[in-house]
Amino acid sequence: MSPASLDEALVAAAQAGSTDAFSRLVERHQQALRAFLRRACGDWAQADDLAQETFLAAWSRIDRLKAGASVRAWLCGIGYNKHLTALRSGSRERVREASYEADRDPTRCAAPEDRLALEAAMGELPAEQRACVALCLAADFSHTEAAEALNLPLGTVKSHVTRGRSRLLQALGGPDER
């Protein structure tokens, strides 16, 4: 069974009320959702909180997911909206460095200075552009899939990815393609 058809079967079972099927969907998509939210908000602990809230919202709205729709894109869309709400409310203000630095393992990174430069450059991108970069450059989303997930026009996503990529490479000392 292909991943897409397995997702479809699990979604159908979850829509019929199966918590086991939903649990398997959580296992299958937690990595993609958490990675996206970590890159979109930069705070690992907050990203995991948002991911948990996203899955809870997904469980209560699972009947709205159309057959054949991308589960990954749908979850990232819910997560992105939760991230924007948190940004607007400011209620999740945390000391970013404290949680982010506590979770990271410096030995895993071959070039820590590049990592820090990338992180700083990502932090300077506008939220929408950052989300587009996180989906298309880091998570292999197609532009169409990202546009669907973020509820943005396709042209806007392409433009955000191009500009974001250019700014990140510039920050890393690579070619500035603007």
């Binding site: 937690q30 990595q31 958490r34 809870l56 209560s60 990338l118």
Partner: protein, 102 residues
């Protein structure tokens, strides 16, 4: 290494583990907790509705129930005697005798 590969390699640092039982369990525990609360709310509502309906209908239900119970009393007594006799003769208790337990 191309620029895109370089970016992807740096982004890979943020990747959570492919399997994270602690995270998945925390999510499912919260899902089950919410489902339980929703079930309790529904059952409480149905019970309250049933109780209210019974209270409202009791004056008209009571005479009918009394009449039925008086009519069925001999049959119920006879049934109870048969069950007791069966328990005494077979040495099994009522649940087993009525097929409710194995």
């Amino acid at each position: 290494m191309s620029d895109d590969h370089r970016l992807k390699a740096l982004f890979a640092y943020d990747e959570p583990p492919q399997r994270d039982p602690a995270f998945s369990s925390a999510v499912m525990a919260e899902v089950m907790r919410r489902r339980f609360l929703a079930d309790v709310a529904v059952l409480s509502g149905v019970s309250a509705l049933g109780g209210t309906a019974l209270w409202a209908l009791w004056p008209s239900l009571q005479p009918a129930l009394v009449a039925i119970s008086q009519g069925l009393a001999p049959a119920i007594v006879a049934g109870a005697l048969v069950v007791c006799a069966g328990m005494i003769i077979s040495g099994r208790h009522a649940g087993e005798l009525l097929g409710l337990e194995t």
